[in-house]
């Protein structure tokens, strides 16, 4: 199988109107280990240099960098550079998956039968999480994609297609904090919203679904040069299927991720794996600029 090699630059730049006196940041910018990915080089350049820096794994197994800054600063720049190769993933025959109800039932608690280790693991991603409330409307929205006794992965693809068709990608429509119900009502949003919505639809019917954060190789319009920094962080969804393991779906692009999707981290939703999350003392208002460049190296 062919591997694609990528060079990724993710630059985050904060500028504060008033000096920040003290700042603590949690950073998810290094990729987790996956069988289909190999990271050859990863660097994180931070300016000003942090007072303390610590590398660890978070509770879901993602690499996490803790930073703290204890001197006044008016700007903060983080630049992550990754050299990473991604294998093509095996082709899935979506029809060859168990009926979706059986998967949901498998994850249900039964007093007479303890859960398998795999099921227990999947259940971490089966319930409400900070950004994904479970509501009747979400299971209703997916009803026509989940006919009785149909294979789980086919149903999930139908749901992905439905979201792709009915929703408009609009980066001005939502913010990080826009509630899902609003996204569903206006049918507009960005990859993060579509991923959260799809997760809510899946979990509302008792299925386990996780949020994947990463990058996607974008193609410039025909005849044009690729622009540096024109890319962005991406997000998609993975659904648990006992026979096939976890299977990824990208509702923003209506596709099954292959070797053009680069996985960084996964969690219950965005709040577990946001690239940068922090608390500052001082700072006043701030401006944020993020530039992502994904370059394919092997072609």
């Amino acid at each position: 199988m062919t591997a694609a090699r990528y060079c990724i630059t993710h630059e985050t730049h904060y500028r504060y109107s008033v000096p920040v006196a003290l700042s603590q940041q949690l950073v998810h910018l290094f990729p987790r280990e996956c069988s289909w990915q190999q990271c050859d080089k990863q660097t994180l350049t931070i300016n000003p240099p942090p007072t303390h820096q610590h590398q660890e794994l978070d509770v879901f197994g993602n690499p996490l960098t803790r930073l703290s800054f204890e001197s006044a600063h008016e700007a903060l720049t983080l630049t992550a550079n990754l050299d990473i190769s991604v294998q093509q993933r095996p082709n899935r025959v979506l029809a060859q998956s168990p009926a979706w109800e059986s998967v949901s039932e498998l994850l249900d608690y039964r007093a007479d039968m303890p859960p398998s280790a795999i099921a227990l693991d999947a259940c971490q991603f089966r319930y409400e999480s900070p950004a994904v409330r479970l509501k009747k409307v979400f299971s209703r929205y997916g009803d026509d994609c989940f006919p009785a006794e149909k294979p789980l992965l086919e149903c999930t693809r139908a749901l992905m297609q439905k979201i792709f068709t009915e929703f408009t990608f609009d980066s001005s429509a939502t913010e990080v904090t826009t509630p899902l119900l609003e996204v569903l009502e206006h049918k507009r949003g960005v990859c993060q919203d579509f991923a959260h919505l799809m997760i809510a639809c899946l979990r509302s019917r008792g299925l386990a679904a996780r949020y994947i954060s990463g990058y996607l190789l974008t193609k410039p319009p025909p005849g044009q040069q690729r622009l540096v920094g024109a890319d962005a962080s991406h997000a998609w969804v993975s659904v648990f299927c006992p026979q096939n393991g976890w299977v990824d779906f990208d509702p923003t692009n209506n596709m099954l991720p292959g070797n053009e999707h680069i996985t960084l981290a996964w969690g219950r939703d965005f709040s577990d794996v946001s690239p940068l999350r922090g608390v500052m003392l001082g700072g006043g208002s701030h401006t944020l600029a993020v530039e992502v460049t994904v370059t394919r190296e092997d072609t």
């Binding site: 000096p19 003290l22 949690l26 300016n47 509770v59 259940c123 089966r126 219950r268």
Partner: protein
């Protein structure tokens, strides 16, 4: 009170005798109780808003009496339960064997919004997760006690229980002694000992424990204050603490003090905005990581709230067998978790007989009794349960036993009546992993026979008297005697936030004073001068805003102000309201009134200034308040003078100049001094001398600067600037060779100097903030790119 045969139970007999012997004495007792509640709440509502509607605590005049034998069984059951729940927490945040073995459903744990994923793997000191525990108990009419709910997040009410005891023991001193009621003091002592002994101290360190409160707006803030005082822990809010390099510190004026133990009265998900709820403004960023690395003990352990789900009740008997190898002693009210199909089906057939509860606090669903619903409502409820069965729990409808209460009977007379009660009992971990159960508890009076106990503090409460077998153990409630050895001079510990609030209280008081002077001058000019068309409304708005800010800062430091000082502040608040009302009417007829009002306001503000100088203990807090006043006065006057020199005095005719100089004297509050000294109209050189250079004038710029240089150690340009100002050569203005052109240059140069002084003031304020309040290195770091 009565047994099955209608005979008064023996332990109630003495109480009944006392109550029935003298109705007038009962009235006296009730008055005593009411007075103590009022007096204590006056003490404890120190920080409350003057307009606030803090509800008074309600305490019944009769205690709930429990005989020794009955209590022993109950207490053993509570201790066992606390031990069990501690082990359950250790498992859930560790190995999760209970989930692997199917002894608990993942739905109830992973699905619970108080199961905090980032806390998984944390090993708290001594293996204690549950330092304080409370259980809500109901007594069935047959006398047996049943568990209704477990409280594991940060159980409230222990402080109220102790307070109830202090009051009621005083109301029935003889009876209390004769009945040999068990004392409660060991609870607080044990809690203090446990936290002190388990505190993760480095060699040579003395443990510092703090009580973390959400703040004075929390409904149980009284209790936080009360417990903090009795434990001897500083009461702090999130912003009083800071995490540096993995350690938690308390910000004090003497610098950062390492904190070893945080007793939290804040729900865990609010405790750390960095890793938990990002929208929490109440927590301490980095606290969770400090707990993870074992540098701080948080009690109860972060994430302990997950055990409050009623869904767990039915699983505990088996878990007790598994984890303790013991039969669970205390039964719980029959409870069914609907996450299992057969259970759900069973529940759906008899919803009208059950109480339905949410399994998780995140649900928009309140506990409801099926009996209260119509057929259609029951169908809707059934529908709801089927949508997400695992989020619901059903419980048997409880009938509570009754106890005697001193209340209004059917004729409106005070007498003994019967009302349903429930009881909250408290346990605290000992350092060696056992639990001490407080021999007493918070008995609450239900609003109906089904035991709908209002969980808010509004419902009535009773003291609980547990009778001792032999002599009561522990110490009776008493006041600590203070001798010469305990003398304290100056404050031992001053939180930075208090100093910061005093600083801003000083600044805003001064800002209001100058704002009021400016406005008064503006209105006077409008009244006297036909050329002025309008009164600048912005001045009024600014003044009103600043008065509000001053009041807010003042409320934060109320504990530091004398009663009279506070009264003066409340009076200003009243005047502010009047001004607001009048401003809304926008009627120029009122201008005369406005002038009078501003005179009154300035007088009140002068009174505040008097209190500041003569009424407060001169510690570091006071010092910061005075620094705030000086900085504000200097910055404000320097700015105004600079503008006036440039625009109004240079270039103008003599008569216009004179008006401007008069105005300056008025704003600088030096008109009277000037008249006394010079007995002449305002002229440039003496006015500049009086307002800028005269160090005997407390309103002069140089006076402020010299005081500030003396009071602060922070290095700013203020020192150099004060020397420049002091050597200002006013003589040169008199020199006839100097000429008009040069006079303008001189005045512009002076204005520039004043602008620099104003700028230095903001720098000083920022530096003080960084060094003393925020505790960060205030030198900005070189940017090095790597």
């Amino acid at each position: 009170m009565l047994d099955a045969h209608g005979v008064v139970r023996p332990h109630w007999k003495r109480l009944l005798q006392v109550v029935n012997s003298s109705p007038s004495q009962m009235q006296q007792r009730e008055r005593l109780i009411q007075r103590q509640i009022r007096e204590n709440s006056v003490t404890y509502n120190v920080y409350a808003d003057p307009q606030g509607a803090d509800r008074l605590w309600q305490l019944d005049a009769l205690p709930n009496i429990i005989p020794a034998a009955e209590w022993q069984t109950l207490a053993a059951g509570v201790a066992q339960r606390a031990r069990l729940l501690n082990k359950v927490l250790a498992d859930l945040y560790g190995e999760q064997q209970l989930l692997c073995n199917g002894l608990l459903p993942t739905e109830l744990i992973y699905g619970h919004n108080h199961f905090l994923w980032p806390c998984r793997g944390i090993q708290p000191p001594g293996g204690v997760f549950l330092h304080t525990y409370a259980v809500d108990l109901a007594r069935a009419p047959d006398g047996r006690w049943w568990v209704m709910a477990d409280r594991t997040q940060s159980p409230s009410g222990a402080g109220y229980t102790l307070e109830n005891r202090q009051i009621l023991a005083r109301a029935f001193p003889d009876l209390f002694r004769d009945l040999r009621v068990q004392h409660l003091s060991r609870y607080v002592d044990t809690l203090r000992d446990t936290l002190t002994q388990l505190a993760p101290c480095d060699a040579g360190e003395t443990p510092l424990s703090v009580l973390l409160t959400p703040g004075r707006f929390n409904e149980t803030y009284f209790e936080h204050l009360y417990l903090a005082q009795h434990l001897g822990f500083p009461l702090v809010e999130g912003h009083d603490l800071t995490v540096r390099d993995g350690n938690v510190y308390l910000k004090t004026l003497d610098g950062l003090q390492r904190v070893h133990t945080v007793l939290r009265r804040l729900d865990a998900d609010f405790c750390d905005p960095l890793e938990l709820r990002a929208d929490s403004a109440l927590g301490v960023p980095g606290l969770l990581d400090a707990a993870r690395t074992g540098r701080v003990l948080v009690a109860n352990a972060l994430g302990s709230g997950v055990l409050e789900s009623p869904g767990l009740l039915g699983f505990l008997p088996k878990i007790s067998e598994h984890l303790l190898g013991e039969t669970l002693m205390l039964p719980s009210v029959a409870t069914w978790w609907c996450g299992e199909k057969p259970v759900l089906q069973q529940a759906l057939t008899q919803l009208e007989k059950l109480v339905v509860k949410p399994a998780f606090p995140s649900q928009n669903f309140n506990e409801i009794s099926g009996a209260s619903l119509s057929g259609a409502e029951l169908a809707a409820l059934a529908q709801r349960l089927q949508e997400r069965p695992y989020a619901y729990v059903t419980q048997e409808q409880v009938r509570l036993s009754q106890a005697p209460v001193w209340g209004d009977d059917t004729t409106g007379q005070k007498s003994i009546i019967q009302q349903a009660i429930s009881m909250r009992v408290y346990a605290v971990a000992t350092a060696d992993g056992h639990y001490h159960v407080m021999p007493g508890g918070l008995t609450r009076i239900a609003t109906d026979e089904h035991g709908t106990i209002s969980m808010q503090r509004g419902g009535g409460s009773k003291d609980t008297w547990v009778l001792a077998d032999g002599l009561p153990q522990g110490a009776p409630p008493r006041t600590r005697l203070l001798g010469a050895k305990e003398l304290v001079r100056g404050s031992t510990f001053l939180p930075s936030s208090l100093a910061e609030n005093l600083f801003w209280f000083g600044r805003y008081s001064e800002r209001c004073e100058s704002g009021a002077r400016l406005l008064r001058a503006e209105i006077a000019r409008y009244v006297n001068d036909e050329d002025t068309q309008t009164v600048d409304t912005e001045l009024t708005e600014n003044l009103l805003d600043n008065l509000q800010r001053m009041h807010n800062a003042g409320s934060q430091v109320r504990g530091r102000l004398s009663h009279e000082n506070w009264r003066a502040l409340v009076e200003i608040q009243r005047e502010t309201r009047l001004m607001e009302d009048q401003t809304e009417e926008k009627n120029s007829e009122h201008l005369g009134d406005s002038l009078e009002q501003l005179d009154r306001l300035l007088l009140s503000l002068a009174a505040l200034s008097g209190f500041a100088h003569d009424d407060m203990t001169r510690d570091d807090g006071w010092r910061f308040m005075m620094i705030g006043r000086r900085i504000e006065r200097l910055q404000c006057l320097a700015g105004i003078f600079a503008e006036c020199l440039r625009d109004k005095i240079a270039h103008r005719t003599e008569s216009l100049q004179r008006t401007a100089l008069d105005w300056l004297l008025e704003i600088g509050n030096s008109t009277i001094t000037y008249r006394l000294r010079y007995l002449a109209a305002a002229q440039l050189i003496p006015v500049l001398d009086l307002l800028l250079l005269d160090t005997s004038n407390p309103h002069a710029l140089l006076f402020q600067m010299n005081t500030l240089v003396k009071m602060t150690t922070v290095d700013t340009s203020l020192h150099t600037l004060s020397e420049q100002l002091a050597t200002l050569d006013l003589d040169s203005l008199e020199n006839s060779l100097f000429g008009a052109r040069n006079t303008v240059d001189f005045l512009n140069g002076l204005a520039d100097l004043l602008d620099n002084i104003s700028l230095a003031c903001s720098q000083l304020s920022d530096r003080l903030h960084l060094r003393h309040f925020a505790h960060v290195d205030d030198v900005s770091q070189q940017m090095v790119s790597s």
